[in-house]
Symmetry: C2
Subunit: 456 residues, 2 copies
């Protein structure tokens, strides 16, 4: 028998735990789910004979150490900064570890220790990062193994509401951590375009978008992610003249969100004291040039160069930004006040399903010699090819969301591969090699997590 | 005999040390100047019989403690974060302390200890903060003592190049820490206007400027400082419907500096590695939408909505932003790269003199009853008055700059007042009461640091 420990029983663990319990009899696993809140853990186990729910104070080193020592593999669903606590115990007790988070410098520093302990610390094995690595690396390696040279790599991913439940003017509802949505784009975006280094400062990330069409799902747009450059080396695409990763939203989301940023409402750098003495109207008025609250609508339109009967204005109005309703937070940053308002507007209603969209566009040339990249014309003999690979996953219900499914399944499948000795890698890794992407992508397909590829 | 210790012998200490040495015989003082670099300290003492230069490693607690124990009063010209080291030794040895920096929470926490030790820790006693407090409080108290009620308080200050040496298209040269100029306006500005709370996010601080005329010196403009609201309580101007503090520049500086911010060149949040492989042209191109370095000028004009023959474009060009010259920094943030370039352009030439401008505009009403403030009309009987108070100080030479004079003299005079028992305050203070502003402003006038007041 093998023992698996899942730490963290939040919404995003639902599909992961379901998979492990569903496969527990077949592989003779016992699943322990630990959470600060025992009820959360119990709800996930739901009296399954192969499962145990326990409460865990993650900062109690004795408790943590004991629990980890009793298991063969640990899946940490904790906030990213807390994985390191678990990782150090996993070194001590020689246990495998899986996370869906970016490899932090502290985690990377454990590489040699994990190798010596003979264990695999597999990180970035959720959706994004996770399925993006798996699917991109399969395409990249396929091209490279056939002698092709990659000239452009673009990859986009977004968590959205499924079209059937898309019933608000922003075509967006929160399906993941709302705070991350409010604070999106607050760091400079860095990417490569036609051989040139490109930076987009945070003040205009939402103005430089790219249009994306996904067959059967219509039009989307993408704004640039923080750091696309850091993918060049791990992906082995140093030949690419364009490398861009972005976040997907429905068309026109960005230009309207940019109006909110221009006003300054996403500011998270200072606290407004006695915010509960202000209405949302006062709040917006404070950020709008000019004065006089009675003509706030005009001032906002003036400042944003939009008309009061324009769609852009109606979207702001729909959010309740001009309402004379008191803010129900005592001390909060502008970003927190905005989040508090939007959580009343952009919430999934009962029965609403979410949707994940991932989309890669990879360009490559077949002949290695005689080619010039970037802006310059290719020689006549050189053929430029484009592969488009798209994934759309809809939630099954309010618990088994598309987000929980695409974040949880890759980790669950990886856990099975480790415990059945199908993975040779040891030390700290992300899933960019064939031993990861071939079996994981294959099994994901059985769950409907399947990319559609086409050449254009 | 009284012993005075000045810690820090940089450019900004020149006038302070000169005053102390010039007055040493009269008051029977001995002045010790301590600096990490002995040569700096020696240059300031210049073999004066009443002075001693010593080298000091500020982090060596034994060295620091001994030096402080031997003196009666300490003036710390260290970077703001380091005053606290000195302050704690001053508590131990019961020594007075003077700084030109904002009172940090750590400094404020020493208030009771300093009172118990019977010493004065006088902070914010330079130019800004310093002369701004002294001069504003004199006006405010004069009005209030006559029964007036302050309805608006605006205060502006800037360090500039004197008009005779103002020979570049930006009408600006660095006369103080260049890094602070590059990073100016990167925090949200907060102020009060006509009774309404106002916020300006960092992305548009340089677009919301106010025009200021100073008799005999022409037109200036001001952009809002970080936090004007925090002055309401210490100044006792809770009656004011408008409270705004700003930084002065010559006209049109802000709109042109805003173009640099829009491009993203003041970004200090990430490092460009191998920056020395890039030219300034590559650097600007990376931040400009579109691609193709040959048409960079067009792309910049397009992005900023300016014409290539416009003054705004010529100002960018004059800075060397389009030059094909390699950046001579290996690893640097965009802000550091920009600073490195601007330090070659905005430097005071040999013989150039600097200039300090400070300008207050205070509005008040005489009758206390029967008045409505803000947007509303005042009753007929109520008289609205405005006092304008302006200070212009030019540097005497390259060492005795206007900046060194206006930062150093208030501290030097305060030191004299303390050592001649003319100040009763004990504990942690800023100079907002009459016992400070009356004698300090009076003596500053003898040095030509004199406000011109007028009623309009």
């Amino acid at each position: 028998m093998k023992n698996i420990l899942v730490i963290g029983a939040g919404l995003s663990s639902s599909y992961l735990i379901k998979y492990l319990l569903d496969n527990a009899h077949l592989h003779n696993w016992h699943i322990t789910v630990a959470d600060a809140d025992l009820i959360h853990a119990q709800n996930k186990i739901n009296n399954h004979i192969k499962g145990t729910a326990v409460s865990l104070n993650i900062n109690d080193s004795v408790e943590r150490d004991e629990l980890i020592s009793e298991n063969d593999l640990v899946i940490s669903m904790l906030p990213a900064s807390m994985h390191i606590l678990v990782a150090k115990d996993c070194i001590t007790h020689k246990k495998h570890l899986i996370t869906a988070s970016y490899i932090s410098p502290e985690m990377q520093a454990l590489h040699i220790d994990a190798m010596k302990a003979g264990v695999l610390f597999l990180n970035e094995c959720g959706l994004d990062p996770g399925i993006d690595h798996l699917s991109a690396m399969k395409i990249i390696h396929d091209i490279q193994h056939k002698g092709g040279v990659i000239t452009s790599f673009k990859s986009f991913c977004g968590g959205l509401v499924a079209p059937e439940f898309d019933d608000n003017p922003w075509n967006y509802k929160f399906t993941w951590n709302p705070r991350n949505v409010i604070l999106a784009g607050q760091a400079t975006a860095k990417y490569l375009e036609n051989g040139e280094l490109k930076f987009i400062p945070s003040s205009r990330i939402f103005t430089q978008t790219e249009e994306i069409k996904v067959d059967g799902y219509g039009e989307f747009e993408s704004y640039a992610n923080r750091d696309s450059l850091s993918y060049i080396k791990p992906y082995g695409i140093e030949s690419a003249q364009t490398v861009l990763r972005g976040t997907l939203r429905r068309k026109n989301y960005s230009i309207n969100w940019n109006n909110i940023i221009k006003l300054g409402l996403t500011d998270d750098s200072f606290i407004i004291y006695d915010a509960d003495r202000l209405t949302y109207r006062d709040f917006v008025s404070a950020f709008t040039p000019g004065h006089g609250k009675e003509n706030l609508e005009l001032r906002v339109c003036d400042f944003l160069s939009i008309k009061q009967d324009a769609d852009a204005f109606k979207k702001l109005q729909w959010l309740g930004l001009f309402d004379n309703i008191k803010i129900n937070l005592k001390e909060a940053t502008p970003a927190q006040i905005l989040q508090n308002l939007l959580q009343q507007k952009w919430t999934l209603n009962k029965g609403d399903l979410d949707m994940i969209v991932m989309h890669h566009e990879v360009k490559y040339i077949n002949e290695i010699g005689n080619c010039e990249l970037g802006n310059k014309k290719l020689d006549e003999g050189t053929k430029m090819n484009t592969i488009i690979s798209s994934l759309v996953v809809k939630g099954e219900n309010e618990v088994l969301t598309a987000m929980a499914k695409t974040v949880g399944l890759p980790m669950a499948i990886a856990a099975k591969l480790i415990l059945t000795n199908q993975l040779k890698a040891r030390g700290v890794h992300m899933p960019t090699t064939a031993e990861f992407y071939i079996p994981i992508l294959k099994e994901l397909e059985k769950f409907g997590v399947k990319f559609e590829e086409k050449f254009v």
